[in-house]
């Protein structure tokens, strides 16, 4: 397998989020200081720069099937940008709290942008009208994730997770959890909903049944979760190893996880979208690629001058984008 540097670009500050456009033409990168930069996916050229948010940007997400980029920031606003024209399209104020989490519905009839700011949560239409504003969550919303089929959005806060129906806005389920939650992930087949927790642990619910599992033993809080496209492997941060649970069948309880070793705390995990490679990054700047099902799972290693702040695979799985704490964006080409 070959891992080669394809291009590199620089932002003005910490790379807080990365998002590949669905057509594969561009990579959007958000700086923690505010500006959003669009890079050409193949050549790394700077296509345009958007001002982003006063006080800093937090998250970005491409609307499915279009050149509309959504962003959320410290100014308490969701903004929509017309990437083709390089222009601001609309602003949706959410309140005084930071907009920290954004996600477009990928499944389902039409795109809906789920956004949270503090305890506020809303569904926003692509035309920037508020489709539904929900009652305040009991505590600050700390993660959100759409069900892969788009029927509901899972919203996490200290104390639990609530599933809000996409169409009727009803609370479908509420799962109690007695601690802080930092990350949420659905398995692609929708069988598992997983939280990465403050306590530190991961908790798995099988929403179709009453099964729930608690996997602990982490050194620190679990902030990153990623499922492989086959819904078998769940990769987690929280230790000096990328800890990978086998979620097939009845789930990981009673199974030893794979411990994919780094030399410093793991700060990112990301499975490919359609293939089975796992990228993991650690605080020392190391990046490793793994095939969890192999006897010798390590496939490739790269080292960057600074720790990865975010990881993103391109939609065809050929390019891996890495944004670092020191404002660099690296795009690696991965050929098997």
């Amino acid at each position: 397998m070959q891992l080669t540097k394809h291009w590199a670009g620089q932002l003005d500050d910490y790379v807080i989020d990365l998002a590949w456009s669905l057509d594969g033409a561009s990579l959007a990168a958000a700086s923690a200081a505010g500006p959003l930069t669009l890079f050409g996916a193949l050549d790394g050229l700077r296509r345009c720069e958007l001002p982003g948010h006063d006080g800093g940007s937090n998250a970005i997400a491409w609307k499915p099937g279009s050149a509309i980029l959504a962003s959320g920031g410290q100014d308490g606003a969701v903004k929509l940008w017309d990437a083709a024209a390089g222009q601001h399209a609309a602003t949706v104020p959410m309140g005084p709290a930071w907009v920290e989490h954004l996600a477009w519905r990928l499944g389902g009839a039409d795109p809906i942008l789920a956004a949270s700011a503090g305890r506020k949560f809303a569904f926003i239409n692509p035309d920037a009208t508020v489709r539904r504003a929900f009652q305040d969550a009991p505590k600050t919303i700390s993660a959100l994730a759409w069900h892969p089929l788009g029927g509901c959005a899972a919203v996490a806060y200290f104390g639990g997770v609530c599933l809000w129906g996409a169409d009727d806005g009803a609370a479908q389920r509420e799962f109690a959890y007695g601690n802080g939650i930092h990350a949420l992930a659905w398995s692609p087949d929708g069988r598992w909903l997983v939280s990465g927790n403050q306590d530190p642990s991961v908790h798995l619910w099988m929403p179709g049944s009453d099964v729930e599992l608690q996997m602990s033993g982490y050194e620190g809080k679990v902030r990153h979760l990623s499922f492989d496209p086959g819904s078998r492997w769940l990769a987690t941060s929280g230790s000096q190893d990328a800890c990978v649970w086998d979620c097939s069948g009845a789930g990981p309880e009673g199974r030893e996880p794979l411990m994919l070793a780094h030399e410093a705390p793991v700060c990112g995990v990301a499975f490919q979208r359609a293939h089975g490679l796992l990228a993991s990054a650690s605080q020392d700047g190391a990046l490793m690629l793994w095939s969890p099902e192999r006897r010798q799972p390590l496939r490739a290693t790269a080292r960057m001058p600074a720790a990865a702040a975010c990881l993103a695979w391109s939609h065809d799985d050929s390019l891996l984008a890495i944004g670092t704490e020191k404002a660099m964006v690296y795009v690696l080409r991965c050929e098997t």
Binding site: A32, T140, F158, G178, N179, E219, K221, A307
Partner: protein, 459 residues
């Protein structure tokens, strides 16, 4: 990873005490440094171009209801976001609301791995309103905790309080928290090196404690020795020229102004051992029942405790001594002087001492233990674990530098409620290895803590 942790200063204090004044002072004097402020009330910062974040003090309270497990979720979130910058910040200031309990703030920096790795809780600064503090401390549990948790206490608005009121307040606060440094200020005018980078939670500085506080507490404030012939003498409270208090020790009244508890005990000589034995028996007498003595009545050496009933702070009693020799007179407290008259002459004490008084008006206090020797690591660990399990709710903070048998380096530790950090720091080097252990908390039993600690010494 290779960068120094960012220092965090927590500013607590009651509403109106002057927290914002202190914050603005720090920001205007430390301009040019990259400081971020996490404040609870919006728009108070009067200094431009500052990174100011408003927080809602979101508590993560655990199901078991234990305050010792609570952390501040908003700080984990906000500080986590503040780390997301290319250039590190130089410091963080956290202002809490007047009603905030400092424990979850401190515990956040003990329990969360990211917070521990990237931040260093430098100190808790509590701003106290010199005029109204006594009322707050009487009525409000959170203000007591803010004082108990503090590394630095500013007695602010001194211009609005009387000197005697300030003295009394400082003494009261010192009785609760013997470890904090106390500064008297107007408009929070204090040198910034006294509030920033103080290393209050720095393990290496755990022994920088007011040495006086390590002395045991006694139920009496003063003792004096007199050489007396046999006979009936005068014990006079008030009226006359009086004795001199050494060291400007300030006495204040516990209880009624017209009652004064005294005990008189014979002592064979004025050597250290004899006085120590007499102090111990006087402690027992003060702990026992008292006998009320009317003005003009008779006082004899030995038990029980004599409660002298005064008239306008004055009184004259007969002290009956059957054997000539040295007598120690112990006094609970007294604004009026005490003196002994033999015939027409006032006898000067041949020896006297002031004592650190156990404060009865606040159940929050400090206990310091200092003792040379080597500890058994397992016994120490078993004791601390059991102590925190059962009494962690009452122990707000503890610090210690300990000598463990077999270790060449000092074991330093620092705790908040049930959480603590311990590590070996530098070599003891030559000289005695003296253990120092400090507890600040509620309902602390000095005798029991001291005894349990002594049981941890290696055989």
């Amino acid at each position: 990873m290779d960068t120094d942790p960012i220092p965090v200063t927590v500013i607590t204090g009651f509403l109106g005490a002057g927290k914002t004044t202190l914050l603005n002072r720090i920001l205007s004097e430390r301009h040019g440094r990259r400081l971020a402020v996490i404040e609870n009330e919006f728009g108070e910062i009067g200094v431009d171009n500052q990174l100011v974040i408003q927080s809602d003090e979101e508590l993560f309270e655990m199901n078991n209801g234990c305050i010792c497990c609570s952390v501040r979720g908003d700080l984990i979130r906000i500080l986590g976001r503040l780390l997301k910058r290319k250039d590190r910040l130089d410091g963080i200031l956290i202002e809490t609301t007047g009603i905030a309990n400092p424990a979850p703030v401190a515990q956040t920096f003990f329990t969360d791995d990211e917070m521990r790795r990237n931040f260093r809780l430098d100190g808790i600064v509590t701003v106290v309103d010199a005029k109204f503090a006594a009322t707050h401390l009487d009525s409000d549990d959170e203000s007591v905790k803010q004082v108990a948790f503090a590394d630095v206490i500013l007695l602010n608005k001194t211009d609005l309080a009387s000197p005697s009121g300030l003295d009394a307040l400082e003494e009261r606060i010192r009785g609760m928290n013997a470890v904090a440094s106390i500064h008297r200020t107007r408009d929070c005018n204090v040198a910034l090196e006294r509030v920033l980078d103080i290393g209050g939670f720095n393990l290496g500085r755990a022994t920088e404690i007011d040495p006086k506080f390590l002395e045991p507490e006694y139920p009496f404030e003063w003792a004096g020795a007199y050489r007396l012939p046999a006979g009936s003498h005068g014990l006079v409270i008030g009226h006359a020229d009086g004795r001199e208090h050494s060291g400007g020790h300030h006495h204040h009244h516990h209880g009624s102004e017209n009652e004064l508890d005294v005990a008189v005990a014979p002592v064979s000589a004025l050597g250290e051992a004899e006085i120590a034995a007499a102090l111990d028996s006087a402690v027992a007498v003060f702990a026992g029942p008292e006998k009320r003595v009317e003005n003009g009545g008779m006082v004899a050496p030995g038990g029980p405790l004599k409660r002298l009933l005064l008239d306008g702070g004055n009184g004259r009693f007969k002290l009956e001594v059957s054997e000539p020799g040295h007598y120690l007179v112990f006094e609970r407290c007294g604004e009026e002087p005490l003196h002994i008259q033999v015939g027409a002459d006032t006898v000067k004490p041949s020896w006297q001492a002031d004592y650190h008084v156990a404060h009865e008006h606040s159940s929050v206090s400090s206990v310091g233990i200092q003792q040379a020797g080597e500890l058994d690591g397992k016994r120490l660990n078993d004791w601390i674990s059991a102590l925190l399990r059962t009494n962690g709710g009452d122990i707000y903070r503890m610090k210690g530098v300990l000598s463990v048998k077999g270790a060449t380096r000092r074991l330093v530790f620092q705790g908040v409620h049930m959480l603590f950090d311990a590590k070996f720091d530098r070599d003891w080097g030559p000289g005695p290895r003296i253990n120092t252990l400090v507890f600040i908390g509620r309902n602390l039993n000095r005798a029991a803590l001291t005894e349990a600690f002594k049981a941890c010494f290696a055989a």
